[in-house]
């Protein structure tokens, strides 16, 4: 990330004036998406004005359960992560990677249709910035960079948010991914009373803030203001660590990551895997909502005439029977082996492969599991009956 003198302390922006941020992004050619209420949840979709943001809505989340609730005191970003993440946009569920048309005796490759506009995303949280860095490590390798991901990533503009509320499923504090928005944002906002503190994290962000200043009033924060702004996510983090009761929210989850790689790899034959499999549906929802899961397959989709064929990349999941299918079948015929594969890759193998955990503590896999399987509880159960010699 590039830094410059233009990146200064946060500045105050009146809430209605957040419109100037949206307008400046649109003027810079971006498609702007952000949190919106739809179908009983807060999803990521196109946002045109401040009123589109879910002010006055909170999300209660727990294993296998998500409910929206009206709360007039709730700000624009007091909800937390929903079923969608940056992955739905940067690494979509389905996309053509190549199309070929029969041309005489041979084949002609058709150029891919690029996205009409670069993307700007509002309300990206610390956990999802961390997830973005993890997906970058997968798709932007120096030796093989994925061309469509790279194109979208280069144009991406991120307006992050520092969380001031956590759901019962959030455990970013255990994974050191939040609740403060870490590096990687262009702009970050912190919601305090009826205004936002907004700050730039990159020169791109600083340039956009300059454009905002031509449309709305930005007032510099005093050092005391800045300290108060910084304390918003830190206070939440302290609360998550101390597990103190908070009005309207259950005690947060946490994950003890001490020695976690060796703990899981040392317990591959633990009876608890079979106990999980009694509950697990092998439906794959956990992997599909996980913002870091990157598995995909590339399928050949010919048309009936045989004159046109598309190679299509699709999300894949280690919970499906055909995952990693080889001659003679798939390598993990039982649900126990597939859940173990998922959890050990996410929390242990990832460390060997990429140098970080594959989990950011966003809690999506807990909420969106139809039977509420909770990886933090499963790891705790294995830790409590550690079978290593």
């Amino acid at each position: 990330m590039s830094c410059s003198a233009a990146i200064g302390p946060p500045q105050w922006l009146a809430k209605p004036d957040f419109q100037a941020v949206i307008d400046a992004l649109v003027a810079a050619g971006h498609r702007v998406v952000g949190p919106r209420v739809a179908a009983g949840a807060i999803v990521l979709d196109d946002v045109a004005c401040v009123a589109d943001l879910p002010a006055g809505w909170l999300d209660d989340q727990d294993g296998g359960s998500y409910r929206l609730r009206r709360d007039e005191a709730a700000g624009c970003f007091d909800h937390v992560v929903g079923p969608h993440s940056l992955k739905n946009f940067l690494f979509p569920a389905r996309e053509p990677v190549a199309t070929f048309i029969r041309d005489g005796a041979g084949w002609r490759e058709q150029p891919l249709v690029p996205d009409p506009a670069p993307l700007a995303v509002l309300g990206v949280r610390g956990c999802d910035l961390a997830a973005l860095a993890i997906q970058d490590a997968v798709f932007l390798r120096a030796d093989v960079a994925d061309s469509t991901y790279r194109g979208r990533r280069a144009g991406l503009f991120i307006v992050a948010v520092n969380c001031r509320r956590a759901a019962a499923t959030c455990f970013c504090h255990s994974m050191q991914c939040g609740p403060a928005a870490g590096p990687g944002f262009d702009l970050a906002v912190t919601e305090i009373d009826d205004r936002f503190a907004i700050e730039a994290g990159t020169t791109k962000g600083a340039a956009l803030l300059a454009a905002v200043a031509t449309r709305a009033t930005l007032t510099p924060c005093t050092p005391a203001d800045t300290a108060a702004v910084r304390d918003v996510p830190q206070a939440l983090g302290r609360w998550m660590h101390s597990r103190q009761a908070m009005p309207g929210a259950a005690a947060p989850r946490s994950l003890d990551t001490t020695d976690i790689r060796d703990l899981l790899f040392g317990n591959l034959e633990h009876p608890h895997w079979a106990a999980i499999a009694d509950r697990c549906l092998a439906c794959g929802n956990c992997t599909l909502v996980c913002p870091t899961c990157f598995c995909h397959s590339v399928e050949d989709v010919p048309d009936l005439s045989g004159d046109r064929a598309t190679l299509e990349r699709r999300w894949a999941s280690c919970f499906t029977l055909d995952h990693a299918h080889m001659h003679g079948g798939g390598p993990r015929p039982t649900t126990a082996s597939r859940y173990r594969q998922w959890l050990t890759h996410k929390l242990a193998g990832w460390i060997d492969q990429f140098g970080t955990s594959g989990c950011t503590g966003c809690g999506r896999c807990i909420t969106w599991c139809p039977v509420g399987i909770d990886l933090t509880a499963e790891v705790a159960a294995i830790r409590a009956a550690d079978a290593r010699p």
Partner: protein
């Protein structure tokens, strides 16, 4: 299933109907541009709902809609099997017995007496059963109705001589690919998606309602876990039984689970109340 040998350059296609609503055949007629593609690659030699052109077999590919529900059906499906090199059953009736398999829990004779003025004119079997219960079937296309995209994929595979690509996963994968908010998690509506074969594209949850399992059970469905979760979160057992007994009630996994829940419910109701 093993790979199918490549079909002749324009294979002969036939479409047959048994006990059914014709909806799957209508899907084929409704395929619009794709129907023309199909007519280009196949000669359609028997499809009474679409054309009066009716040529005798043998056929390269036979698509069979409907379940076996009369003694005459039993004889006819054996005859058709003999006429078709590659026999594909299409839809919930042909692959699982259909809604009409609800009779399998009741008395067909009672229904006939209730519905018809002269039930003695009606020759019916006591059960409605899938085609595969009577003759070997080469491939099954699930759904009520079938998905046109899957049908075209199957026919493409037949022409090319490769294995048809039908996803071995559940409906949830399609919901997530489509970006649908899960109705089970966000609204507490009991949904059969996690135990149902994909293929519809996650249609019902995208229309704000639960999956009712019309594609039948998915691979290794963990029904006991799912119904147990729904029960613990307030869905009465009899509602779960009705959910499982709708479009593919006679499919093995759904039938076993609905019977188990029904027996548990009966046992609970038989207990003396305090």
């Amino acid at each position: 299933m093993t790979a199918i040998p490549p079909a002749p350059s324009r294979p002969r296609l036939a479409v047959f109907k048994f006990a059914s609503c014709d909806g799957c055949q209508l899907q084929l007629l409704d395929a619009q541009g794709r129907l023309l593609e199909i007519a280009d690659r196949f000669t359609i030699d028997h499809f009474l709902e679409a054309s009066s052109r009716d040529l005798p077999g043998p056929y390269d590919v036979g698509l069979v809609e409907g379940s076996i529900s009369t003694p005459a059906d039993v004889a006819r499906i054996h005859e058709i099997r003999g006429q078709c090199r590659f026999l594909v059953t299409i839809g919930a009736c042909a692959t699982a017995g259909g809604i009409q398999a609800l009779r399998n829990w009741a008395s067909a004779a009672d229904y006939a007496a209730a519905v018809y003025a002269r039930p003695e004119y009606v020759a019916t079997l006591a059960t409605s059963t899938p085609i595969a219960a009577h003759v070997p079937v080469d491939f099954e296309l699930r759904g009520c109705p079938i998905d046109v995209g899957q049908l075209v994929e199957l026919l493409t595979a037949v022409v090319v001589g490769r294995r048809p690509r039908v996803a071995p996963h559940c409906v949830c994968v399609e919901c997530k690919a489509r970006g649908t908010v899960c109705v089970a998690v966000a609204r507490g509506i009991p949904c059969l998606g996690p135990v149902t074969q994909a293929g519809c594209g996650g249609l019902c949850p995208a229309c704000d309602r639960e999956c009712f399992g019309c594609f039948g059970p998915g691979p290794q469905p963990n029904l006991v876990s799912l119904t147990g979760f729904y029960e613990r979160h307030g869905t009465p057992r009899d509602r779960l039984v009705r959910l499982l007994r709708s479009f593919t009630p006679w499919a093995d996994d759904f039938r076993t689970e609905s019977d188990r829940l029904e027996a548990a419910d009966a046992a609970a109701n038989a207990e003396p109340r305090p």
